[in-house]
Each structure stands twice: as C-alpha cells, then as structure tokens.
Amino acid sequence: MGVGGASGATEQVAEILDKFPGGIRLVDSIEYLVAWARANSLWPLVYGTACCAMEMMSAGSSRHDWARFGVEVARATPRQADLIVLAGTIVEKMGTNLVTLYEQMPAPKYVIAMGSCAISGGPFYYDTYSVIKGGDRLIPVDVYVPGCPPRPEALLYGIMELQEKIRKEGRRNPWKVGKVLETPFVDTHSLAKQEWLTQEEKKEDEQRLARARFKAENPDYKPAKPQRLAKEKFAAMPRIPPRKSGFTNPSLLAAVQRAFPEVALFRQPEITPATVADLGPEYILDLEIGPEQYPDLVRFLKEDQELGIDLLLQVTAVDWQDHFDVLVQLLSTRLGHKVFLRCPVSKEQPEINTISDIFRGAEWHEREVFDLFGIRFSGHPDMRRIFLLDDFPGYPLRKDFADPERVVKRPY
C-alpha cells in the first residue's frame, strides 16, 4: 500500500521548457490535452463483489450506456484499466486482493467507491466480523457515490465528477494519489451522541437562565402537541395455512420410531404420534438423537424407500450457550415432506461424525459449520475453513464470540 507521489519525465521536460518564452503556454496546453484525454478515456476494471455490480452493469446497458462517456471498454485485467469502481462489499479476505489489483494498475489510476458498503461498510458496519468498513481504508478513493445501490445515473454522475477532477489536475496541480484512511473503527453513532451531550452540558447554565426568563415572560405558554400522522389502518387477516403433502408428522414419527426407538422430539419430551398431531400440519418434525446414532438415522432416512427422503436441505448448527445442536434438514422431492433432526454436541469437545458420505452436499455445509461454529466433523474428507481466512481468531457464530479489533458493537 501507500503509493506515494507520482513522478514522470513530464516534470523535467516542463522545467526546461518553462525557461523559454511561451514555454509555459506550451506545457500548459500539453497538460490540458493529456488531462482531456485521461478524463475522456476511463477504462474500468471488471470488478464487482455484490449488489452494486448489478447497477454498474446497468450503467453499461443500453438504457444508460456509459459508452457515451467512453467507459465501455471494460478490461478484465488491471494492466489496461484506469478506473476501479468498488462495487460492493469488501471483506477482509478480498482486501489483500483488492490492494493487489490496485497496485497492478498502471498509473495514473482512479478509484470510485460505489455504494454504502464500499464507502463505509454500509449495512455491515455494526456487528460484522469480516467486512472492511470502507474501501478507502485500503486504497485511496477519488469519488464517493452514495446509494445502496446507487442508480446508474448516480454512477454516471460520479464518473462525471471524476472527469471534472481529472481535468483540473495537471503538472501544476499534479496527479495526486489520494491518502489511505487510517482511522480506527469508531462507532460514529455513539461518538456523535457523546459530542453533542458534552456540548449541551456546556450550554446548560446559560440556557437555564434563558429558560427562566422565558418562563417569566410567558407564564402561560403551552407548547403545541405534535400532530401524529394518520396512518392507514388494516384489518387483521386470518392466515390460511398452506397445503402440505407427503407423510404426516404422526406417520413419519411412527416410521422413525420403529427403527430408532431412542429418538426424541425436540422440546417435546412426551412424544407419541398422537400428540404430534396436535402440533399442527405446519410443524416440521424436529427429531433429536444422540451422536452415536446420528449418522445411522440420516442414512436410514435416506435409504428408506418408503419415506422417499432424497434431498439434503442443509446442515447447520445452533449455539445454545451450554451446548451446540447440529441440525440436519431433509426433504423429499418426490412426496414433499420435510424432516429436521438435531444432534447435541458438547462445547468442550465439539466433534461429531460426518454425513458427507451419505449426502455429498453435506461436505460444504459441514465445512461452513466448522468455520463458523468450530464443530469438527470426524471422517470429513476436507475439514478446512470455508469462508474465513485460516488465521481468523475464533468462531464467529458462537454466542460468546468477541473480537474488539474487527467488530464495532451496535450502540443500541
């Protein structure tokens, strides 16, 4: 990082020419020409991480057509790009790559931060452990285009602002590489509040006097009541539960219990198929099973022809402070019913058998659970972190996760 000032032979040429009469004029007009060329030929890098990239593409579509500005020559390699539009959230893992990209662009290069995420982290400012709060903490940004995402026109306006900026720079106002912000992550919301409060406290004394005087002058002053806006009133509607197909809960439970008598129902200690029926058709059977039988039950559910369960929706986990629950959600595409099952895992030794040999799709889901909860799956072919960097400290979805370096706590 930290690209200092740019230098070029232009400076030396200009120094020589300046001494001659009319030399300044000449250099100036060359400078003007170069600035004009640069401003009108901004080739963007094909870069986009999230939603803003779609609006960036819209800006390139026929309707908005940024080709009118000569911006349509989008390059896939940074070597030929002049402009990088930071479209979308920048997370820690991408941060180093973004700096690489920026450094690999030849000078002069320009950066537009598009949308809230790239400006300040936007919706991911508070309580996120992986988002970089603003692109300008990594690379110098020239123009900020606010919005979430900004309209294509707003981006075009941002490009016009950038053109304006480029046109004004020349040798005498040399191309400046902007500064990388190095401020710590602050909770701007609380900061503003605090500042305001101290400011108000200082005024307290003089205000007290003013208020007393006001009260004396207007003894029967009655403030007007604020008028509430009349909002449209809506009637409550009865909910029509959607039609469910496939096995009913009682018959499903009965089938499972036949093979696995130990199976329990989550938070429903006394289970009989009859009581399950009372839970209603929308209730999805939520089985609980010990770690020993957990893979067997999954295998049973998959292989039982009658039940017809064939699709793994997901494997996930819930942190219940004292233990974890690993959750498996299954679906029958043929019949339409769903089964959830959970297996408690202790916090001290978070390890459980894998089911990736039963459902191939579980492989990534289990990696995700490992990454975010730190639950290991024994027998898993590729137990690595999936989203976060390998040296990320801790497991973020645990309830006790705290990382003051990364996370700005929500003030309210």
């Binding site: 740019a6 040429v13 390699t77 940074p78 690489t100």
Partner: protein, 127 residues
C-alpha cells in the same frame, strides 16, 4: 526489385513511427513508485502458483506439423496455378489444359487423401 526498395523504405518509416510512439511514451508516461505486488504477474489478483513457463500440450505441435504439411503443399501448387490461366487460354501451346488439370487433380487428390487419412486416424480431433 524496385518495389521491394519501396517496401523496405516503408518498413523503415513504420518502425520509425512505432518506435517514435514508444519513445514518446517512455519519456512522457507516469512512473509510479514500486509497490509490493505491482510487478507480480497478474493471476486474477492472487499470488501465482508455480512457474508460468510450463510445458505445453503436444496437440499444438501436431497441428503445427499438419500446417507445415498442408501449407507447403499448397504453395507447391502456386506455380502451377500461376500458369493455369495462360494454359487454358492457349498461351502455352505445348501443354493441354486437360492434362494440366489432371496432374493438378492427382496432386490435390493425394493431398485430400492425406487429409482423410489424418481424419480417420483421429489426428484432427482436438482433445
């Protein structure tokens, strides 16, 4: 021969033009300070894995050989083609156009047979 002098001259001018542009750029272009990853080869913004000077698939060479074969063979046709018209119009009285065509046909036929052979051998299928 004279025309080749002109061609040579224009090559000189062309090189001058191209070289001029490059020298002009050398003098006037920006030079930003060396960055950490600035000169690292671009591999989708990641660190390149291994060397870029790699061995390459043999199929490329097979096609290069085929090219040599067919291109040279077709260039052999060139003199024949050049006089074909004059033979037909009777300027080369001694050669009958039919004979010439037959000779040509045999040549091209052999070429074609070679192609069919390569085809059947599966050489022409890029794997």
């Amino acid at each position: 021969m004279e025309s080749y002098i002109m061609i040579g001259f224009s090559v000189f001018l062309g090189a001058l033009f191209v070289g001029g542009a490059i020298i002009c750029s050398k003098i006037l272009a920006f030079h930003s300070p060396e960055g950490q990853r600035k000169v690292q080869p671009y591999e989708c913004s990641e660190n390149p894995i291994g060397d870029a000077r790699i061995r390459f698939k043999v199929s490329f060479y097979i096609f290069a050989l085929l090219f040599l074969l067919f291109d040279i063979e077709s260039l052999f046709l060139f003199p024949c083609m050049k006089i074909f018209k004059s033979v037909v119009t009777g300027q080369h009285g001694s050669i009958s156009p039919v004979v010439l065509f037959s000779e040509l046909f045999v040549f091209v036929f052999i070429l074609f047979a070679g192609l069919i052979y390569a085809w059947r051998k599966g050489v022409l299928t890029w794997e």
